[in-house]
């Protein structure tokens, strides 16, 4: 199994629901709590597993706004795991989920330097690195209804822009979406072979107008001939 996420850039409206759902679940999750620093003070910050970036491309008036959620890509060749001196960082053989064993992590930050996606965050209170667990504490919990055995970010997404599944299964929804919509890896050239994929914006087809455009335009009310339509 190779578990991961597909994120649809065509429908992501940048609402941050996935980010706060993640925060909410995981602050009481297996690597929680996720500390908030200066929660009511200047420059508040905290530990998040999922952050949404907003970009503009093109110059006015040909500009477009892109909302771009980023979390751990659960890379096939995860350097964050390779560089870990304590063995706290690991990639699960069963499902490819990259995790940090909170009992072994010493907070050295090597993994965060190795990760090009900014997916790892140091919790300064616990002194450990934390990151997306793909909600490992939800996805195998048989006490939950089957539909709820998905990451919190996926079940909450109002724009249906997030999908969870097994990329090793060619018939999974995520595999199909990647095939059908040319799902992309982020920065594949770096060679980490990230599992998560992004679906690019769909192309739109022009709407014809010739069939509703009149050659001799109406210029006066008198040109209309009443139609006999019963009320």
């Amino acid at each position: 199994m190779r578990l991961g996420l597909v994120i649809d850039i065509d429908t992501c409206v940048g609402c941050h629901a996935c980010a706060t759902a993640c925060k909410q679940w995981n602050t009481s999750g297996t690597t929680g709590p996720l500390t908030d620093y200066r929660p009511y003070g200047e420059n508040p910050s905290g530990v998040w597993f999922n952050r949404i970036r907003h970009y503009e491309i093109g110059d006015y008036p040909n500009n477009k706004t892109i909302n771009f959620p980023m979390s751990c890509m659960h890379c096939e060749d995860a350097d964050c795991v390779t560089v870990c001196p304590t063995g706290a960082s690991y990639k699960r053989a069963e499902d490819g989920v990259v995790l940090v064993d909170q009992t072994k992590c010493m907070g050295c930050n090597y993994c965060s330097w190795a990760c090009p996606y900014g997916a790892r965050e140091l919790d300064r209170e616990s002194g450990t690195m934390k990151k997306c667990t793909l909600c490992i504490d939800r996805i195998y919990d048989e006490e939950l209804e089957e539909i709820d055995r998905q990451p919190a970010c996926v079940i909450t997404c109002p724009a249906h822009a997030r999908y969870f599944g097994d990329f090793d299964d060619p018939n999974s929804e995520v595999s199909k979406l990647v095939r059908e919509r040319a799902g992309m890896q982020l920065m594949p050239e770096l060679g980490y072979n990230p599992t998560n994929r992004y679906l690019p914006p769909r192309l739109t087809t022009p709407i014809p107008t010739d069939d509703v455009r009149k050659t001799d335009l109406i210029s006066s009310v008198k040109q209309w001939v009443n139609k006999a339509i019963a009320r």
Partner: protein, 970 residues
């Protein structure tokens, strides 16, 4: 697979269903609780609104519950201290309620209008409005007057429903969707769910907005319209549709007033009103009979176009003729509209024709048999799959009512209202035009009003004015200043009360409204007004009561603080009598229920209102023997009937035999339990033959009458041409048989803005300032993760944004030498502010904008001194006056609002921008730090929220030693 530990102790957890209140969307939530702590809040998959999803706010409910700004208990301003100084002392509930009861008893027994009761972002207007009616004061409204009354009024006076809570696009069928002036909206999750459906089907999404934020990000086409010119854009669409003969003849003839005959006697009494028969029926010209006939009869063949002479010699024209003559004019051509709107002419023409193509060449049908109001069977619903949604960007202009009507005109011409693929009403809508409630005007001591304080005027006779034409309401709603102010003018209450114009009041109650900060115009001066005293040293507003759950800037000005609970701590109803949670094919309402025990000595405001109503012996709350009728809010909700069989909740009522029935029935003592058993909501799925054409659908209208949603089964005839507006206009021209204004500026406003067909007119602020001196439009929006998220200053959400910037077009700023992140002065006719700039591409060059309500007063909301919200964040409100810009004329004292509806004209603002001097940094103006309240928790420096101790997942030592070779391929 290696065994995983048991991460969650489900046995310790309880699951409760309720309704979210992090904004006004009212999503269903499933809350998992452990030891009176929230483990997780998720969307309820069965809920009609959100279908399982939840937004950023809903997911942050835990942090609302954690807020240190929660009010600890009842308080009063410390005797001897000044109002606004922030010195409070705790009092008991008995003292708080006794104080209030005594004061209100006296007012009610002497002069009930001396109580003004205005509510903010609450969703209990059915209760608060009824409370005010029973008290006997007309001085009640919620916040609609400064929110979006233009959308409600524009829709209700045109098509019997509206955007937002009264209607939705047919997300499952629409092929073309145009969104006007919306970054985010009340229907936050439904819109997101809907947009994804559109995208999946390949429907086109066009975003009309000066700023490319929010939903515009995923629009297939962005139309960067200039603020305040949307009516022109819509009317130019009308022009193109007419020029190309692209409109739905049958729809117009059958369901609108466009074939009705209009009296054509310019300059005479009665001009522009419908020509009516002796029974008052409007008339149409029947083509078979070649004569005027009752226009409401079926099977007539009305001429859509034509000028005729009625038998009595009156010259008449069809309404459609007047409309076509008007909008065929070159004034509305794409070329001319382009000059006003900034949208290229070819874009305007193309968009109009694209909509015509989708409406008429891609028509859809739903093959369900239905019966129209005249008893005729139809084998299908014909659908024009073009839909629209509009909101604050249209409504918050002084020409927003007419702009909204112009948008509805496009929809109606396309035949796309309440048809498959079009814009659909949500029960209890549609209603007859306008809804048959007239605003109350008469008051007497210890007597309920005869009708609710708010209603829908149909003519000048319905205004709430005295014999001399002066306003009777404190906010001057339904006066000549704002004749169709259906939601009141909450933004005028403080100013008017302090001026004693039209009269002074005694007690002002605000519930859940931040009227000394982000919800008022002219914030700094309004704060001064709240402190203002008369010659005798008495406060001009003698007694100020604030009910809220959190320590807001408004609480700081209270004389008496009534502490409310959070949404997870109380019973509540989202009622069919108010703005329910219905979807187009589902009539639905819902409840909230207590999930957590409150920490403080707080009570739900609903309970307080029921308690006060009982103490004050309101007739509806008192038995004949004088004893109290309802034990508490729950008891009231179950047993109160507005009319026989109709109460606050429509599910699980009782028939004559005691069986449970829905929509109408006797009170059921088990009703709350039924809602609790059914995940806190009730949903009635409309039969398939009642889901479209409801304005003329026999079975639907009969159902709606049974359920109390409409008063009659007569068809709802859409008003492209508004006779109501024309009556007011005639009053302004001195040609009306009834009340007419005496002052010239009132006459001018009626003549110019109450046109029976929508017009583009210049927003009022722009017409009273030097536009060259203030070259920029300045507007604001709310980010998705804070839209209507009005309280608690949420820890997680403020990490996403704790400072707002002034956003400018990059090329425009470069020409002015303004750099990214630099500080500038922004000045309007009303004042100036210092703010930090951010440059972007997605804003049309004549517009600057910011995120609203990010700026906070230092010390409020549990924020620490130095919080970004108060040092760098800012409010644009300082620049906006609640009165029109001064010009030395009678309009100087008139509200800065839409002249038709009184909707606050927030987005009419014009500004100039100049770079700040080196060293001038930080937002300005600054305010004193608000003192903490006695008993408030200290705001923590570090927060580590968790519902339980984490169950760690430990990596197997063997896996460590083999360096995880199991997964390594190399």
């Amino acid at each position: 697979m290696s065994a995983l530990p048991e991460f969650e102790n489900h046995k310790k957890q309880e699951i409760h269903y309720s309704t979210c209140y992090m904004c006004a969307c009212r999503c269903g939530i499933k809350v998992t609780v452990e030891d009176n702590k929230v483990r997780f809040i998720q969307g309820n998959r069965n809920h009609p609104i959100n279908k399982g999803v939840l937004c950023a706010k809903g997911n942050s409910g835990i942090m609302k519950q954690q807020s240190p700004a929660k009010l600890p208990g009842p308080m009063r301003r410390k005797p001897g201290t000044e109002r606004g100084a922030g010195e409070f002392e705790p009092i008991s509930w008995d003292e708080a309620l006794d104080t209030l009861t005594k004061r209100l008893e006296h007012i009610r027994a002497t002069d009930p209008k001396k109580l003004a009761f205005f509510t903010g972002r609450d969703q209990m207007q059915a209760l608060t409005g009824m409370w005010a009616t029973q008290f006997g004061t007309i001085n009640w409204a919620a916040h609609g007057g400064f929110c979006s009354v233009n959308m409600a009024a524009g829709g209700l006076y045109t098509m019997g429903h509206a955007f937002w809570e009264f209607g939705d696009p047919d997300w499952d069928r629409t092929k073309y969707f145009m969104m006007w002036g919306v970054a985010e909206d009340h229907a936050s999750n439904p819109i997101k769910i809907g947009l994804e459906k559109l995208k999946r089907r390949g429907a086109k999404f066009v975003g009309v907005n000066p700023v490319r934020t929010g939903y515009q990000a995923i629009a297939d086409e962005w139309v960067g319209v200039r603020p305040g010119t949307d009516a022109m854009l819509a009317l130019s669409f009308v022009h193109v549709l007419l020029k190309n003969d692209q409109f739905d003849w049958e729809f117009l003839i059958r369901y609108t007033n466009s074939p009705w005959l209009v009296v054509n006697t310019p300059g005479q009494k009665g001009d522009g009103l419908f020509y009516r028969d002796e029974n008052g029926k409007p008339m149409a010209w029947d083509m078979d009979k070649d004569a005027a006939v009752d226009a409401t009869q079926p099977e007539i063949k009305p001429a859509l176009f034509g000028e005729y002479t009625a038998p009595d010699g009156t010259p008449v024209k069809t309404a459609m003729t007047i409309m076509a003559e008007k909008y065929l004019d070159e004034q509305y051509s794409p070329e001319n509209a382009s000059k006003v709107t900034g949208v290229p002419a070819e874009t305007i023409e193309r968009l109009a024709l694209e909509m015509a193509h989708v409406a008429f060449k891609e028509t859809i049908t739903v093959d369900v048999e239905w019966t129209d109001v005249h008893g005729r069977k139809h084998d299908k619903f014909v659908g024009r799959p073009v839909s629209m949604h509009a909101m604050r960007g249209i409504s918050a202009h002084s020409n927003g009512f007419q702009a909204c009507r112009a948008i509805h005109m496009v929809q109606i011409l396309l035949g796309s209202v309440d048809v498959p693929g079009g814009h659909l009403a949500k029960p209890p809508y549609p209603k007859h035009i306008p809804p048959a409630i007239k605003p109350a005007k008469e008051m007497s001591p210890n007597t309920p009003l005869k009708s609710p304080p708010l209603g829908f005027p149909k003519a000048p006779e319905d205004l709430v004015i005295d014999a001399d034409g002066n306003p009777l309401r404190i906010d001057k709603a339904y006066s000549w200043d704002a004749p169709m102010a259906n939601h009141g003018l909450m933004h005028m209450v403080i100013t008017n009360a302090v001026k004693g114009d039209p009269y002074p009041i005694d007690t002002l109650i605000f519930f859940m409204a931040n009227m000394s900060w982000n919800s008022t115009m002219n914030t700094k001066e309004i704060q001064d007004m709240l402190r203002a005293k008369d010659e005798s040293g008495e406060y001009k507003i003698p007694f100020l009561v604030v009910a809220d759950a959190f320590h807001s800037e408004m609480v700081n000005f209270a004389d008496l603080v009534i502490p409310d609970t959070t949404y997870l701590e109380r019973y509540d109803t989202i009622s069919m009598l108010d703005r329910p949670i219905s979807e187009p094919d589902t009539a639905a309402d819902s409840i909230r229920q207590p999930i957590l025990k409150p920490e403080g000595d707080v009570r739900p405001w609903q309970e307080v209102l029921v308690e006060l109503a009982s103490r004050l012996k309101f007739p509806a709350f008192t038995r004949e023997d004088g004893s109290r009728k309802f034990a508490d809010y729950k008891d009231f909700i179950v047993n109160f009937e507005k009319e026989p069989g109709i109460g606050f909740l429509s599910g699980w009522r009782l028939d004559e035999n005691g069986n449970e029935v829905h929509l109408r029935g006797k009170p059921n003592p088990k009703q709350w339990e039924r809602y609790q058993e059914n995940q806190a909501f009730f949903a009635y799925h409309l039969p398939e033959n009642t889901r479209y054409y409801r304005f003329a659908n026999k079975d639907y209208l009969e159902l709606a009458k049974h359920a109390g949603w409409v008063g009659s089964t007569d068809p709802i005839i859409m008003e492209l041409y508004s006779e109501t507006l024309q009556k007011f206009r005639l009053a302004g021209m001195g040609l009306y048989d009834g009340p007419m204004p005496t002052q010239e500026h009132h006459k001018q406003r009626l003549r110019d803005y109450f046109t029976p067909l929508p017009e583009q007119y210049k927003p009022l602020e722009q017409s009273r300032i030097n536009e060259d001196e203030y070259p920029f439009h300045a507007v604001n929006q709310r980010p998705m993760f804070m839209y209507h998220s009005w309280d608690s200053q949420n820890v997680w959400l403020r990490q996403i944004m704790s400072q707002n910037f002034l956003y400018m077009n990059r090329q425009q700023a470069a020409e002015m030498g303004i750099a990214d992140k630099s500080w500038v002065w922004v000045e309007s006719h009303n004042g100036k502010i210092r703010v930090q700039v951010k440059l972007m591409e997605g804003v049309e060059p004549n517009t600057v904008w910011t995120w609203n309500a990010i700026g906070k007063q230092s010390g409020a909301w549990g924020l620490k001194k130095g919080a970004n919200e108060s040092t760098k964040g800012f409010l644009m409100n300082h620049l906006i006056s609640e009165l029109l810009p001064k010009k030395g004329d009678a309009n100087d004292n008139v509200t800065n609002s839409d002249p038709v509806t009184g909707q606050a004209a927030w987005y009419d603002l014009r500004v100039k921008i100049t770079p700040a001097a080196p060293g001038e940094e930080g937002s300005w103006p600054t305010f004193d730090t608000i003192k903490p309240l006695p008993g408030m928790k200290e705001s923590p420096d570090v927060l580590r929220y968790h519902a339980h101790e984490p169950v760690r997942l430990v990596r197997d030592m063997k896996d460590v030693l083999t360096r995880g070779e199991k997964w390594r391929k190399d």
